[in-house]
Symmetry: C2
Subunit: 348 residues, 2 copies
């Protein structure tokens, strides 16, 4: 038992994935010994004890084998899954980090990770008085994604009509609240009545609907937006995007953040209504949050204050234990999570 406890457990990719990912595409491996120091002679590195891991839809892309490189590399079969997480610095040979620092950023799905270029991968957490897990979401990548995507890509104005898909997810719940703080009219879609309730009662959306219960998404959108949509924050793609195009207003903007409905399909769903882009002078713009991290610190301060003042609500779906990380990740693609999906590796 003592030897097992001392192993550095990790979740590895067993094989590249096609179609929907399964838990069995990943596996827990416990080998080696949990390290306690950055190896001798390794300059500029930190040893992290991982505390919280983030499950994010974009990770699906990394599970496949791509012929052409994407903006993030494919996972390597047999090696630990990598992703965003929160950890505590155990040892450091980098001047920007010291033992005891809490950090968030790119790490491994394992008990301990050696991060060799930490100034590129990690941010020191400036508000450790807030729940540390928040740095996997509202105070980390997902929150900053919502902020950049909404405020910069959508270029919203007070009073505009905003639609958010996958609205109870890590990003969607925050987009909706940022939009309400700006004085917009906000409607969200989600995949269960409980999530719809959360949108209306917890996150303050003006309206919401369960897309699985709507016979005709076009009718649902026309009901919620009789005068059309100015801003669409796109998290799902496919059929929803197609009917949104029909319901956009002139000079509407679509921030393409994710298309989770499409990631597991060999042939993505057809979109037919792109002529609307011309007639209505629409702008559809994709973005990747890592292009914008130069302004993250400003975001962290703003939103840490919002959280402390109770201006923003935030819901997490917490899975306990590294061994449950594969199920948590796979669950994203069936919408099993309610709110931001986090995995607790250790609490301290």
């Amino acid at each position: 038992m003592a030897a097992e406890a001392a192993a550095n457990r990790r979740i590895v990719l067993r094989s590249h994935v096609t179609g929907f990912p399964k838990e069995s595409d990943m596996g827990l491996v416990a080998t080696g010994t949990a390290p306690s120091r950055v190896p001798e002679g390794t300059a500029g590195a930190v040893l992290l004890k991982n505390l919280y891991l983030s499950c994010d839809p974009y990770m699906r892309g990394r599970m496949s084998k791509h012929e052409e490189p994407s903006y993030v590399p494919d996972f390597v079969v047999g090696e630990a899954i990598t992703g965003y997480g929160v950890g505590k610095v155990v040892d450091s040979s980098h001047p920007g980090f010291k033992a005891g620092d809490y950090v968030w950023g790119s790490t491994g799905w394992e008990d301990y990770s050696l991060i060799k270029d930490p100034s590129k991968a990690l941010f020191v957490i400036r508000h450790p008085e807030l729940p540390l897990s928040y740095y996997t979401g509202i105070l980390g990548m997902a929150g900053f994604t919502a902020y950049v995507g909404f405020h910069e890509i959508c270029a919203p104005k007070e009073g505009e009509r905003v639609f958010v898909s996958a609205a109870s997810g890590a990003v969607g719940q925050l987009v909706g609240q940022f939009a309400k703080l700006m004085g917009c009219y906000v409607v969200g879609s989600a995949g269960s009545d409980d999530k719809v309730k959360l949108l209306k009662e917890k996150f303050g959306f003006d309206d919401a609907f369960n897309y699985k219960k709507e016979k005709d998404l076009n009718v649902a959108l026309k009901r919620c937006f009789p005068e059309g949509i100015d801003v669409y924050f796109e998290n799902v793609g496919g059929a929803m995007l197609d009917v949104v195009l029909l319901n956009m207003r002139v000079r509407g903007r679509i921030a393409a953040c994710g298309m989770i409905s499409q990631y597991n399909l060999d042939l993505p769903d057809p979109v037919h209504n792109l002529t609307a882009v011309i007639v209505k002078r629409l702008r559809i713009e994709g973005f990747v949050v890592s292009d914008h991290y130069g302004r993250y610190r400003e975001y962290e301060e703003t939103v840490a204050r919002y959280v402390k003042e109770g201006k923003i609500a935030y819901v997490e779906d917490v899975a306990e234990g590294l061994e449950n990380a594969p199920a948590a990740l796979v669950g994203l693609f069936s919408g099993r999570n309610v709110g931001k999906q986090v995995v607790v590796v250790a609490r301290e």
Copy 2:
């Protein structure tokens, strides 16, 4: 014969169109008398003798009956088709226009048109020393569309790789030449070998292909753009757009000017590859040239100079006679025209 010559002939829409338009959807009607004066008591109007009419793909939309209003109104059955054209002012009760002025703008498909709000519809031609028909194209709506779409919506940089579809058309031939003037690498697609030859030999495109002869458009694009496309000027939509998405470079821009392949379809062709918008941070933006006319005069001066200096080539496909206007318009949708499609109603 004298009475017939004195009639005001006009081309009317016989019925709203579904699917591909036919010549028989329109008809020539000769009634009334050719007017020679703005009617007594009609202030602020001009009477135009129409000289040249422009056939433009966007007109297809106006031939259908729409439930929701578009950016231009539907044609009215039994009334004259309206569109862009060049005319001579015969009489004017508007202080901004005088008899003898040559003008271009919105007019009717008829011998004479009474324009009741000419300051909104017409520009006085400042370079009547150039061929007047050029104001249906290079010096009018199509040319300014190419300029605004390329320089503003595409935001090109010197050395970037530019792809233009429907490249020998009124807009495409100019986009390609504007791009060459900026120092871009430019490839165009067109629907015949003769058009491809024109692109390479007359308009100075770096490369061009006949999309009807390519077995696989993706292979054609990869051959012409081994490193991908920075800027796509979209005139066709559908299958071409779908493969272009696969070949765009990171931070590429797509100006959606037209989608002529889609205008006659009940169910537009599917586009599957929109997830590329996220991964590559693409921007797809539609625009309508009439939003930009505030800067037209600057364009007119610049391009009139280009034409005089021989910096820009321009090819027109000229149909003789108002009675041949329906066939000329319908021909756009099978790509029968080579270059800008113009109809001559009268030469003076």
